[in-house]
Symmetry: C2
Subunit: 251 residues, 2 copies
Amino acid sequence: MTSSDTPENATDAPDAHAEHTGVAARDWATASTDPQYRAAVVDLLGALAYGELAAFERLAEDAKLAPTLEDKAELAKMASAEFHHFERLRDRLAEIGEEPTSAMEPFVAAYDGFHKQTAPSDWLEGLVKAYVGDSIASDFYREVAARLDSDTRGLVLAVLDDTGHAGFAVERVRSAIDADPRVGGRLALWARRLMGEALSQSQRVVADRDALSTMLVGGVADGFDLAEVGKMFSRITEAHTKRMAALGLAA
Amino acid sequence: MTSSDTPENATDAPDAHAEHTGVAARDWATASTDPQYRAAVVDLLGALAYGELAAFERLAEDAKLAPTLEDKAELAKMASAEFHHFERLRDRLAEIGEEPTSAMEPFVAAYDGFHKQTAPSDWLEGLVKAYVGDSIASDFYREVAARLDSDTRGLVLAVLDDTGHAGFAVERVRSAIDADPRVGGRLALWARRLMGEALSQSQRVVADRDALSTMLVGGVADGFDLAEVGKMFSRITEAHTKRMAALGLAA
């Protein structure tokens, strides 16, 4: 076995460069005739929608910690962008004939649990959380996009495309660490705690929602593979570690 | 003196139906050559901008009290709309060469004071506050619009035009009072307190900001008239009382 065909070397999502096959080659109308696929997409949209609404609330809350009016406005802007993502996802649920609230309900406990466990105690913790949250969400969206029918994929990528307030957070956190390197140690611990909580809540969701989990790991046709879930988590964790290092935080 | 020419009979803003004269007939480029007018508009935009940002924060905070996900989403939508108003006002300040933060700073204490004194203790109080706040803001925008140059007036009316989430709050509050009439008494007291705080903070601003106050009461050319400020407050209070009565609350 040469290193070039060692799967562990892959850091991208497994089929990021692949042609669309299976469900990814179909549109919603044809793909959704499979009830298990349909249930998985409803779960996915519900999970993403509530995630955006919860993110809106927390970012708006964190805006109160902002040291300046510019900073406050910047966090409020991120919050507002999350709200608009929420609207698109909720509207899509309604469009495919699903009650958005029912679709979101199963994921409320996981998100609320995450945010409750990770309430930032100051402005910098809030920024790191916004950045980590935004980045993990992007990674997750990319992972999942390749496994979706073309219509759902378009929506997920559009919502992803519109994030990217990361630059602001990165710039502010870097300056704070430059000004006082001890801040880096504290924020590194904080980022690790965020990732730990995110993983623990995700695993809870994966365990609870069979259709969604099955889709996440390679499409309903291929059957459920727990090892594949683990690999997806590994890829997301690895990307997180790299980002934290780039930010000056040992993850 | 017949009743038809008694000014006390007027409930609309004094020149709501008048032709635009004075500064209102000019555009920003010509009107802003008067430094006192320019200072007044910068104050006004700064006050409105921070008001929108503060409203965003409070509505987002109140969204946490929502009894259902739909209600939460509705309050988040109002918050997001306020944020977009903030963006327009802030961008306008930058466009006319003013530092938005400096323009907002003088009004931070008044708004923060208002919100601190009027933190809702439950969902219905939050709704009444959103409704009262939205309505008073609309009344105020209308009062002031007639006294502005055409460019600033356009912006103020555009920001006004985009509010109007009132229907949602009215519907929810009415149902709650129908279900339990005792709720009406409590909310009536609450609305009175909101109005009292709003007036007390406004009077503080009026006392502090001469250029703004002078413009509010009839244009800088006409000189400052304290009686006119009183009348403006009376008109806004009267409109509030009527709205509260329509809502089933004795104001």
